[in-house]
Amino acid sequence: MAEVQANDHGGDGKKNKQKKQTLRVDFTPMVDMNMLLITFFMFCTTLLKPQTMKIAFPTKDEVKDESMENKVAESTAVTLLLGDNNEIYYYEGYIKEENYENYNEFLNKTGWAAQGEASESIRQYLYAKNKGAYDQIEELRKRMKAKEISEEDFNAQVKIIQEEAKKAKKAPTVMIKPTDLASYENMVDALDEMLICDIASYAIMDLDKGDRIILSKKTNNPEYLTEEERKDPKLNK
């Protein structure tokens, strides 16, 4: 391959006794060097680009107009409480002060989807809640993957489906409330569940007093309470 047949015939027809020379180039050092370079590039590069998740928070500016505030209808409101040790709790609607003692009636403990199929997972719960919209969107997604509809069409139609489900009060509005004992991964996982279950409206919020009280009662862990609440004798029975 890397040989050049060098049989130079003389120009004037004389019987030139020239040796047949084979020019061989030894490529071994070249290969060595290339291998080194490849190794260098393999160790120093990332082929995988990280993904990102877009998230928007409401502004901190005071809302002056009452009508500007988004009120979540009680029938669609779902609250997720992210607790210590990757625990996750949810309840529906709002809690009233007189119901603090009956926390077991509405506050449910559940698990992340990854942790086994046996117990109920948050994903199953949200999926059941959002079934109507999810099934429609999944149908569309299949069609998009089969290249029947374009991505823009898909996005536009998903929006319509989600709007309609919201109007018909069939889609849940999820309020994610990570406690101070939760980890960043819990928050991202919770947001991820929203994406997986195609939930259109969700927000990350701080816990209010009621959340902290029922959560500390349920888990027997006063750490969920604020300093002041811990000193309150009424809450520390």
């Binding site: 391959m1 890397a2 061989r24 030894d26 490529f27 071994t28 070249m30 290969v31 290339n34 291998m35 370079l37 490849i38 590039f41 393999m42 120093c44 590069t45 990332t46 082929l47 995988l48 680009k49 990280p50 993904q51 990102t52 998740m53 877009k54 998230i55 928007a56 928070f57 409401p58 502004t59 901190k60 500016d61 992210l82 989807a113 994903r123 199953q124 949200l126 999926y127 999810y134 999944e138 990570p178 406690t179 101070d180 004992l181 939760a182 980890s183 960043y184 991964e185 819990n186 928050m187 991202v188 996982d189 947001l191 991820d192 994406l195 997986i196 279950c197 195609d198």
Partner: protein
């Protein structure tokens, strides 16, 4: 004695084909790769199903370490330099040309502004040594103060913010002339939520309400 005739075989292996292959591979790696950015700390980002890619330009990344230390990197080094000068002005610090050149070389930084000139005068190895303190298990609080961008607001007696934190200044100056700048938060998955919350609250104070959370990919479906 009859000698056994051993045929002389040439052991020459033709490496041309091999060379062709390696050159091809090399070309592939050179064209597809992006270099790993040197970051002061290693973080494992949480995973999500989101498939949005990280933008290549106009992004500011806020790196949050498990102990709450903040580091900043930016895709555009010129803007970062301009920001450095502005933050320095606030604290009455001016940088020499050499320091600025050293700063431009840093991919990611996290030092209080007051120790920045000294830090920039150090050689790259010494800088790494300073940064390595974060990985030492026996580092005291006092040691740890030397790195990370401080994000504690100084509050007056009445609870009103008297002096905004360095972190807020960095973000404010970086976004001042560049409204399109995207803010990305990169944090280890085991970071406690309050640490991230504090960063987000600071950004919200500056009326920055949209962020990108850097994640790695996983796949899942609802049922």
């Amino acid at each position: 004695m009859a000698k056994a005739k051993v045929k002389k075989h040439s052991t020459f292996i033709d490496m041309t084909a091999m060379s062709d292959v390696t050159v091809l591979l090399l070309t592939f790696f050179m064209l597809t790769s992006t270099f790993v950015n040197k970051e002061p700390i290693q973080v494992t980002t949480p995973s999500s199903i989101s498939e949005t890619k990280v933008p290549d330009t106009n992004m500011l990344t806020i790196l949050v370490d498990p102990s709450g230390k903040i580091f900043i990197s930016m895709t555009n080094q010129d803007q970062l330099l301009a920001t450095l000068k502005k933050v320095g002005e606030d604290y009455g610090i001016t940088f020499t040309e050499k320091q600025l050149a050293n700063f431009a070389r840093l991919k990611s930084f996290g030092v209080p502004i007051r120790s920045m000139p000294n830090f920039l005068d150090l050689s790259v190895e010494k800088q790494d040594e300073v940064m390595a303190i974060i990985n030492k298990p026996d580092a005291t609080q006092e040691d740890l103060k030397a790195i990370g961008i401080p994000n504690e607001d100084k509050k007056g007696a009445d609870g009103v913010i008297a002096e905004t934190s360095e972190f807020k200044r960095w973000i404010r100056y970086a976004t001042e002339d560049n409204k399109e700048l995207q803010l990305a938060i990169k944090s280890d998955k085991n970071v406690e939520y309050p640490v991230v919350k504090k960063v987000i609250e600071d950004l919200r104070d500056l009326r920055k309400n949209r962020y990108l959370l850097l994640t790695s990919l996983k796949t899942a479906s609802a049922n």
